[in-house]
Symmetry: C2
Subunit: 124 residues, 2 copies
């Protein structure tokens, strides 16, 4: 059970940040109409609003590198909580930004979607 | 609904860190036998194990100051996700440590308990 959670969580994290860094619009496949994103305190709901925000961020090229990933089963059957910390390197900046992000992954038809997503930069 | 979530979440965060800083053993009242804590990657489950870990941390006096709090409703009826960033000042250190922490709060009998708790220091 614990291995499965880590396996799913790790695969999700790799997939999510790879899409973010290489083909941001395709992140839409990971959200649902009920999904919520809180990005630096700004609240967005639903795939359309979330994707508009993510695609309008004031940088094009970026590279996420992950420092830590923690996983826990949620109380909802089969759901997983994932907590990530890492660095976000922007093409336009010399030094990477540190960030923390959590995801609540809900199982559906053999895969998972992001129901809850909270992102914060960790200012130095 | 959103106001209620913020109100509950804010009250929880204030209460949690106040207990942590002034009477750490009393945090036991916020956990259940099913609760999970991942503390800097170490996994603990159940009130007893969680409290042993929190009370054995290698510092006595500390003061949490909160920088940001984000809230979202979870998919489980009435449950709340809380995402906190802040500083942890230890009596034995000159500079505060930055941390991020998430809680999954589950309603029970008019109050909430912590089902999921993930804590990470954000190293500079």
């Amino acid at each position: 059970m614990e291995e499965q959670i880590e396996s799913v969580g790790k695969a999700f994290v790799d997939h999510y940040y790879n899409l973010f860094d290489t083909n941001r619009p395709s992140l839409a496949s990971l959200y649902h109409p009920s999904s919520m994103l809180t990005f630096e305190g700004q609240k967005l709901q639903g795939t359309d609003d979330i994707m508009r925000k993510l695609c309008e961020l004031p940088f094009d090229q970026c590279l996420h590198s992950i420092t830590t990933i923690d996983y826990q089963p949620s109380c909802f059957a089969g759901a997983i909580l994932v907590f990530v910390s890492g660095n976000l390197q922007l093409a336009c900046q010399e030094h990477p930004l540190k960030f923390s992000q959590m995801f609540h992954l809900i199982p559906i038809q053999g895969t998972f979607y992001v129901q809850n997503d909270i992102f914060r930069l960790n200012y130095g």
